[in-house]
Amino acid sequence: MSDINYWEPENLTDAVSILADRADQVRALAGGTDLLVKMKKGLTNWKGIVNLKGLTELKGFIYEGQTISIGALTQISALIDNPLLSLHFPALVDAARSLGTPQVRNLATVGGNLCNASPAADVALVLLMYEARLLIMGPNGSRQVSIQEFYVGPGQTVLQQGEILTAIEIDLPPLNSKGVFFKHGKRKSHEIALVNVAVLLTPHPGRKQIAQARIAVGSVASTQLRIKDAEDSLTNSLATLSAFEQAAELVKEAVNPIDDVRSTASYRKQMVGVLTRRALVEAWGEEL
């Protein structure tokens, strides 16, 4: 590892200006659980690191009406410890619990999980399902993008030079809806998802028909995906096992996984179907 520059800005403005001035030669450091590993492996040629840990204003939760704003530097472990999240966003808490190991969760941040743009990210997948809005600060001021627009490819986002993700906003899901996160791996902890799935089902009053369905899947394409066809197939349909199976089939058709050392494309494709169906059954929560 060769010598690099290192900054610890005390406020967001300074952080943005350092990052903007040095263009793509410097990287922002949040939890460091991906960044430092890449640096140690010699996979980078970065000339500098801007440590954001001192920006305490980017940490924690703000509740306003129907919206929760999560600071981008909030640790994954803080999601698990938050009782209101457990109440309203249980799938988010499940995803946080499944991420890495306790040591990783104490360092890794929500913003880092998004900005790293891994197709396998657990917390980011659930935020995709909850239709998060991402607040970004840059040299030209702040802007907001929907999480759907955030990813460009594996490891790539719409963040421009000097831009920092500052907060993630999610609205309370519809009343009576239920969100579920399922992750598939070879072990129960310290695992990168072979496939992960986050779904949300909202029943019509009377609970026979589905009012709205959301299905987000990870590790099966170059970015995480919402599967619109599968969601639409469930809207206003009766909640039956065959409806869920059909939706799962549509998910399988929509994805394009790869072969790598962790699994095969064919296995991932089969698993995204099984997990989607199981997650939908779980989210419906009643005998079918």
Binding site: K186, R187, K188, S189, H190, V261, R262, Y267, R278
Partner: protein, 765 residues
């Protein structure tokens, strides 16, 4: 028999320092002027080295020395920690740094620099020109006609170990059924917490060199390192601090000669500490073996012939492989009785990292194959698998073919009975593939596996241990021993044996926690589950010698013959002639004080260097219950019942810990662990703990250990062994439980979700 210290789960002698983090491992050490060593590794699996230019690296400020093959002694050697003995086939095919790359990670050059960053930078400045050769990543390719030779061995086969007992053809002719199956087990890593390959070498001004190293066998590492360097054994001093797990990975030389050569060339201490990735890339692991087993059997379950043909993939260098081929034969032929047995084991070179020792030394491989086939035989004959095993296993009083000696004690029947009861064998086996929750997609099954293992490796080699007990002025005792405890707890068990024999409290025995070849007598090390049995015998006999002197001194002081004295609780007591008189006693402190400073002027010391009189086998029956998710292929182990005959359990908590820890490795072997290589380039694909999947604490099932204490005559207080046996039968038991759950026989490990799902889909076609 009742003991006072033996049989107690006393806290380990190294517990406090390890739990508090104050234990100093080799990698924690610092010496003034210490340099950091690094090794340049081949990026190619098989390549000639056309040229190496180290000039730029040498010019880098802070670099003190750069070595290549040109700088190494031209002495061929073998890294395996195997003593010269009739059973050892030690093919010498290594140099300290190679002149031809034979696997990705082979050591090409080494540097020592003032710090790690400089050393790493120096490696980048070394220019190597390679001529890349075909990478032979499996035995089929290595043995194929016209395959390029990795060393000078025809078809890359460098060893054949045959065994013939009786007439195998007549045995098969005599059989009602003949079963023939081929099994494959993968290469797996020991994954000790402290990565394998940590040593620090410091030369002195008298031509000697001290090496602190994380090893299982200080004395053998001393002599092998000396040979590789062209030094006399006495020129090297090995110090073994606490070791963070070994499991066979440190059963021999790892990187000590590189550290020593660097240090000697520069005249300064050098620390050479491998990363986790290097431990995967460049240190020894478990042998992949392809095994064909042919078994002839009568309708009543009597075996008429048993045959094993195995191809052992030893990787790029011979190290342990031809020597391991002997025990591989031994494990096979000694498990079940048969009048006709034939074994042919072949050692094959490939372009993967060399294989060596890993907990069980070939036994987990053999047991997976044998125990899988035994279940198939039982099913075909309509015999309960437990009955078939009970009918054919060797018992106490019979000759055990591994050693050729009579079996001293056998707790196998009790292992089967208590294990079957705990897992509810009769009830659960009757419901094959019983369905549980989740839309009927999950199927449960139970299965079991049996194994036998050694307590040392006699008579294949000498199991020498030396022990010295010295009684201090205050009555406490030092146990001077080449303590190669690598985390298993042997140092504690040996201290208990010493305390029991001496008749003093456990706390009053102080073992040398650090092994030092300049201090303790020759000890072969921690291998073959030998420390408690073999080392324990030496410790007990050294203590007995010291005790005899204590008694003689007490007899003088108490004016009572030795025959009427007993030692208990740190005092020597005269047996009461009549209950009227108060008991007469004198403390060992008083005795020792008198020995030192009274009329005699000597310290009471007991010393022995010897090997134990036997090699009593241990038995185990492991039972598991699994749940197979037929939609995902995931096999979950729900429960393990491990019934082990260990002889007397000197420290039951340590024995249970050994079994439970081993089961973690056994489940990984069955389900998740495997080295993956790109078959064309030979590049390792998962040399890290993210992609090489060892199980975590949350993956572990409920484990019940059942200790069956069939004490043996020759062991210290009846102890046999436990170190390796905990994982030997686990994978077989899981494979048999999976068969019970879904009716599919897996002949290849690991049973990954992908493989299980594919097999389920094939079956349903």
């Amino acid at each position: 028999m009742s003991y006072s210290v033996v049989g107690q789960s006393v806290p380990r002698v190294d517990a406090r320092e390890k739990v508090s983090g104050s234990a100093l491992y080799t990698g924690d050490m610092m010496l003034p002027h210490m340099l950091i060593g690094k090794v340049l590794r081949s990026p190619f699996a098989h390549a000639k080295i056309i040229s190496i230019d180290t000039s730029k690296a040498k010019e880098l400020p802070g670099v003190k020395v750069v070595l290549t093959y040109e700088d190494t002694p031209k002495i061929l050697w073998n890294s395996a920690g195997f003593p010269p003995s009739p059973g050892a086939i030690l093919v010498e095919d290594q140099y300290i740094l190679t002149n031809k790359a034979r696997y990705v990670g082979d050591g090409i050059a080494a540097v020592a620099a003032v710090d790690e960053a400089t050393a790493v930078q120096a490696l980048e400045l070394i220019e190597v020109e390679y001529e890349v050769l075909p990478a032979l990543m499996n035995i089929e390719r290595a043995m194929s006609d016209g395959a390029v030779l990795i060393h000078e061995a025809e078809k890359n086969i460098y060893g054949h170990t045959p065994v013939v007992i009786g007439d195998i053809d007549a045995g098969f002719a005599d059989a009602d059924f003949v079963f023939e199956d081929t099994y494959y087990v993968p290469k797996v890593n020991q994954v000790s917490l402290e990565p394998c390959g940590v040593s620090m070498a410091a030369p002195d001004k008298d031509g000697r060199i001290t090496i602190w190293t994380s090893t299982q066998m200080p004395h053998l590492v001393r002599s092998i390192t000396a040979h590789a360097l062209g030094l006399k054994t006495g020129q090297i001093r090995i110090i073994k601090p606490p070791v963070g797990g070994a499991f066979g990975s440190r059963l021999g030389v790892v990187n000590e000669p590189i550290a020593a050569l660097l240090a000697m060339k520069v005249g300064q201490p050098v620390m050479l500490k491998y990363t986790r990735e290097e431990a995967f890339l460049a240190t020894e692991s478990r042998h992949p073996i392809t095994m064909t087993i042919k078994t002839g059997v009568k309708k009543d379950g009597t075996f008429t012939a048993r045959q094993l043909t195995s191809y052992i993939d030893g990787g790029a260098y011979a190290t342990h492989t031809p020597s391991l081929a002997g025990p591989v034969a031994g494990w096979f032929l000694a498990m079940y009785k048969s009048p006709n047995i034939k074994v042919d084991n072949y050692s094959v070179y490939t372009n993967s990292t060399q294989c060596g020792a890993f907990r069980g030394y070939g036994n987990p491989q053999v047991v997976f194959a044998v125990e899988s086939q035994i279940d198939d035989i039982a099913e075909r004959l309509g015999i309960d698998p437990l009955e078939l095993r009970l009918k054919n296993h060797p018992c106490a009083g019979e000759v055990w073919l591994w050693s050729g000696w009579v079996i001293e004690s056998c707790g196998f029947e009790e292992c089967i009975a208590s294990g079957a009861k705990a897992i509810e064998w009769t009830k659960k086996r009757s419901k094959i593939g019983n369905e549980s929750s989740h839309q009927g997609s999950k199927k449960r099954g139970v299965g079991m596996g049996y194994m036998m293992h050694v307590s040392g490796a006699r008579p294949m080699l000498h199991e020498t241990s030396a022990a010295m007990i010295k009684i201090n002025e205050d009555g406490t005792a030092n146990l001077i021993y080449s303590n190669s405890d690598c985390g298993q707890g042997a140092g504690t068990s040996l201290s208990q044996i010493a305390a029991e024999e001496l008749g003093i409290p456990f706390e009053d025995v102080m073992i040398t926690k650090t092994a030092d070849t300049d201090v303790a007598g020759f000890d072969i090390g921690s291998h073959a589950s030998r420390q408690t049995y073999s080392g324990g015998n030496s410790v007990k006999n050294a203590a007995a010698k010291a005790k005899q002197k204590i008694l003689e001194m007490a007899a003088e002081m108490m004016e009572t013959p030795v025959s009427e004295l007993v030692v208990k609780g740190g005092r020597v007591w005269a047996s009461n002639k009549s209950s009227e008189e108060p008991a007469k006693s004198v403390s060992i402190a008083e005795i020792s004080h008198r020995a030192h400073f009274g009329s005699h002027g000597n310290q009471i010391i007991g010393v022995v260097s010897e090997e134990p009189p036997g090699n009593p086998p241990v038995y185990a029956a492991q039972f598991v219950e699994v749940e197979v998710d037929t939609e995902t292929g995931i096999v979950e182990v729900l429960r393990v019942v491990a019934a082990h005959d260990v002889g007397t359990a000197i420290n039951p908590a340590i024995v249970e810990g050994q079994i439970e820890g081993a089961i973690q490795q056994g489940i990984g072997y069955a389900l998740t662990e495997e080295y993956c290589y790109d078959q064309e380039s030979g590049k390792p694909l998962n040399p890290n703990l993210s992609d090489y999947k060892i199980l975590t604490s949350v993956d572990m099932p409920q484990i019940e250990t059942i200790l069956v204490e069939a004490a043996c005559d020759t062991g210290p207080f009846g102890a046999k062994s436990v170190g390796e046996s905990g994982l030997v039968a686990t994978a077989a038991a899981i494979a048999n439980a999976v068969y019970n759950a879904i009716g599919i026989r897996f002949k290849e490990l690991p049973m990954t979700p992908e493989r299980v799902l594919a097999a389920l889909q094939n079956k349903n076609k």
